[in-house]
Symmetry: C2
Subunit: 108 residues, 2 copies
DNA sequence: TGGCTATTTGGCAAATTAACCAAGGAGCTT
DNA sequence: AAGCTCCTTGGTTAATTTGCCAAATAGCCA
């Protein structure tokens, strides 16, 4: 049984979990450029449409994406334009071979 | 079967997955202040020692943590000092109620 | 060496997550 | 209204992850 989590912490975990999946990260990266509809995203990731829809729904409920229906299509976009910065941080993690680092230099 | 992933992408996913767990995020946050040994971290998260050790091993292999054995203890520390920035980004995601946002303001 | 402490590893059962198919809206357009 | 397109939801099975116990390893110290 998981121990009670502060709401701030569980929100962080929800966001991270949402992004910690190949298709969902790909979707998020694609949306950094422009909003896209579900069928665009389906083509991008190549999974079954229902699978993509579920990924999108998860990203939306984590607060990562916003959606809007226009006509027949549903368009998704990032809720936040900080993902460039965010991914830069991710890429800095362990950018160097771990064995060669012995202290805290200035890392990133 | 997952489709082939670029190595940069799978590395990103590995880092995000490593952080997307309550205990592992807690550990990572604690290590932002100072390095700690396994027993300190065990006390912090309250799980079985072997569970904590597996979390640490996962974080290390994702490149998030570095470890060093000194005497009987193994000390863990962050591989990177950019986590403050990183978490700031995470917290900005969906910081506003989703419904009220209709476009890209300057968000974060 | 033997014993003690700190940590890791192996193995397994429970819980969670993922992906597909099929069926169900929702909103054009005629 | 009928039919079509786009998307979401329900339900099921497979795969992955989690967490504990027990056993193994590593290093100190008598």
């Amino acid at each position: 049984m998981p121990k009670p989590l502060s709401s701030a912490a569980s929100k962080r975990v929800a966001v991270l979990k949402a992004l910690a999946h190949p298709s969902r990260l790909l979707i998020t990266e694609a949306l950094m450029t422009r909003e896209l509809c579900v069928c665009d995203l389906r083509e991008l990731v190549g999974d079954d449409l229902s699978t993509v829809s579920k990924h999108l729904s998860l990203l939306r409920s984590a607060g990562v994406l916003l959606s809007e229906k226009r006509g027949l299509n549903v368009y998704y976009r990032l809720s936040c334009d900080c993902f460039g910065e965010f991914l830069k941080c991710v890429d800095q993690v362990g950018a160097e071979p771990k064995a060669t680092r012995t202290l805290f230099p200035n890392c990133c």
